[in-house]
């Protein structure tokens, strides 16, 4: 989700990511925003995102996260993986008894 958000909106700082995730999920995923940071750290360590200091819209110093090439690749791979999984699950839900005869 973090990767997709960054993919959609370009470089963002932590608060913006948290806000967007909440927004996109329709406020269903309103978890503690702080838990985002360990996740960001892990993604950074894995090389999927990179971060740098920047200045936010209201002139504050903020750390901006952006997607790297590796991150884009990973997003693609995970998107495909998810679509496959979702498709399989969907098929199971869609199936009717007469289809199997």
């Amino acid at each position: 989700m973090v990767l997709r958000t960054l993919d959609l909106l370009g470089p963002l700082h932590g608060y913006a990511i948290a806000k967007r995730i909440g927004q996109i999920s329709g406020d269903v995923l309103a978890v503690n925003q702080g838990t985002l940071y360990p996740v960001l750290l892990r993604l950074e360590q894995e090389g999927a995102i990179a971060s740098e200091w920047g200045v936010s819209e209201n002139n504050r110093k903020a750390r901006y996260y952006r997607l790297t090439r590796g991150g884009r690749r990973r997003l693609k791979a995970e998107t495909e993986g998810w679509e496959q999984t979702a498709a399989i699950v969907t098929r199971f839900f869609a199936i009717k008894p007469e289809d199997l005869k």
Binding site: Y15, G34, Q45, E46, R60, K61, A62
Partner: protein
Amino acid sequence: MRTLRRLFARLRAWTGTASDEARLRAEIDEHVALITEEHIKDGLSPLEARRQALLQFGAIEAIKESYRDQRTFTSVETLIQDIRHALRRLLMAPTFSVATVLTLALGIGATTSIFSLVNAVLLKSLPVASPRELYRLGRQSRCCYLGGYSQDKEFSLVSYELYEYLRDNSQGFAELAAFPSAQLLFGVRRAGEVDAARSYPGEFVSGNYFSMFGIRPYAGRVLTPEDDKDGALPAAVISYRTWQQRFGTDPSVIGGIFAFNGTPVTVVGVTPPGFFGDTLRVMPPDFFLPLHAEPLVESASDLRKYDTHWLQLIGRIRADATPSAVEARLRVALKQWLRAHWEEMSAVDRAKFPEQTVFLGPGGAGITSMREQYGEWLLILWTVTGFVLLIVCANVAGLMLVRGLERRRQVSMAIALGARLARVIREPLIESLLLSVAGGAAGVAIAFGGTRLLLQLAFPSLPGFAGVPIDAAPSSAVLLFAFATSVATGIAFGTAPAWMAARVDPVEALRGSTRATARAGSLSRKALVVAQTALSLLLLSAAGLLTTALQHLEHQPLGFDPDGRLVVKMNPQLAGYRSDKLPPLYRRIRDSIDAVPGVSGVALCLFSPPDGGWSTSVWIDGRPTPGPRDTLHSSWNRVSAEYFDVVGTRIVKGRGISQLDTPTSPKVAVVSEAFARQFFGGDDPIGRHFGRTSRSGREFEIVGVAEDARYFSPSIGGPAAPMYFLPEAQADYSQTSLGSLFLHDIVIATRPGVRVSEKAVRDAMASADPGLPLTFVSTLRDQVSNQYPQQRLIARLTSFFALVSLVLVSVGLYGVTAHNAASRTNEIGVRIALGATRGQVVLLVLRGAFGLVVVGLCVALPLTFVVGRLLTSQLYGTDPDSLLVTVGAALALGVSAFVAALAPAIHASVMPPWVALRGD
């Protein structure tokens, strides 16, 4: 890939800087500020906005913690922190730390040094190539020479001819090597040296012996089948140890000529260091000679006797053969060989023919006679040290609990502040492990010295010989054992305090009084004292039982008088004597020793008690030929005139052996009471005749019956074995190859109150023949005591450990009593203020302490009886008065417990009541 990259990132962060921490803080601050701004825009008051923002963000500290966990290796970091912390805390209590480490070192050191013996004797394989492929003939170790064509249970010793037959008729062995079961001594002298020959243990081996073991020479070459042939130039291989210790690795030894019992032999090579032959024993061979050199070196050769079985076999099995298939082939081959000798077999042998068989056992450890001899003892000792270690654990756990109590407030505060439980538990565990590893390190040092001492005590080497080839320096197996023991010990005594730390209630930190908390801890401490008491009683009574049993053993009716007598052992064979020169030698020895002032009598014999005798069959004249299964054997001894007077054995009937028995007088024998009982029942044996073969029933006339004496039987209460005695003067000295002509023991009786010095005896022997090697001079009493070196060792060590356990228990009890008394200060103050006398206070405290001891005793008493019975019946075949011993042990424990508890009790009673009441 991803994980790997993460690992590097973490490593970088670990070695990296603290700026990460600042970055995180800045980011979080920023984040919270942004939410707060948003809320202010929504119309909340700044304060409320910030509160909402913080709620939305979540628990900042916990998130930081998990962020840190992600960033680097926190667990390692905190572990190092904890270890540092624990070290600091231990250094702050030096007395406690040193005492604990020493106690632990004692426990771990004792266990480890016994383990190094267990490892060397019971676990290790021979230092040879692929010991797993080796198999030996026979499951039990036998010694030394067996005659005839039948052996009990299994055929495990073979003659040279049978060895060749088995080797050539059992496919499956890549190599099958033979060597004697008996330990041989050679009188060795380097060519050109003037000194008398020295005795060296040696061994005859088949030519393929070294290739079978896969042993390469350290220098020169090893023996090959070419050396082990008729007419081959006699060659020998010297052990590395002897080459180094006796000849200072002199290279000219290789290729040098040495006289072995007078026969020149060329030393062709040196075995590798560490190789000690086929059997772990006290005197490993210093020289290896081919079997075909045996007729040249030994005056009585066995090589060509096909019905004298004296060789043991070890073979390396081929990769494509299974032991069971080889065993089956060997059985067939044995039967075929026996069939081929059907003509020479006696009726007894023929009757036993169907049951003759062989077994193949694992041979990687070589001939395991030492394992069979010492295994039980070592395991008992190991158990004893294990008990000591348990007591040490309980003791240290008690001390740790006290420390835990002192730290309760600190721990509950830490928990109240949000410390994770895992870390709170980890702290005492780390402390325990640090202590036990330090104790283990010190223990290894103790074990090194201890093993040395044990080796000397357990396997006393004769003066002039190198001794058992067990290295006292800890091997990797021993170090590993010590480390594992330390860790296990640390966990064992660290669990209790850790468990206690885990049960701390954070509320207690706020309550602030220690009084309410004393209970839980003291219960487990009490349990520890009870356990220690029980274990210690077990040890004490075991020690008592072993010691009394040993005393019984040493003071049993011996059938001879061990006091006021000396024993000299010599070896005329090694000095190159031929049998016809023996009678004059014996006469000279008798005369020169008789002339020593203070000597009242001297006699020579083949065996002096309690050493063993040789065995023969016995055929009584005028009796029908006995059935094949009747016991017809008796051991025998060749003795000179007046022997019975000199050793102090009573003649029950008839006469002893005297000067009247000469080569020309009728051949006579004196028999033991057991002999008379077994072969004549109630009849009078005097005047009857017996012989040693079926055709010579009238060989000897019985002229006397001697009291049963302890030759050969180390257990008390066991029946004495039959024995007969022949006069030395009537021996047939024309039989040059008869080993029994060489008497090697001299017994000297001294006048009461006179001490004859060893030097006087040696001088007298030297005047009889200066070149005669003496292997042993001691009192007969010592010779008796030396019969039981293991019993003595085990009794002494167990006593030592029992005393240690007694001290530990006393210290433990003192600690518990002192602590309990201290925590009851208030109560005692009130009692004294209300008029309790000092005596009542002392009683109050003592009662608490003694209650524990009594519980411990009650737990241990039934166990003690079981263990005592097992121990003594197994080791000595008797049951000494175990009740008395146990009561004594319980008393000893009670008294020391009383002393230990008395000091804190008195301390509590003399405390002025106002001090007590002021208390907390």
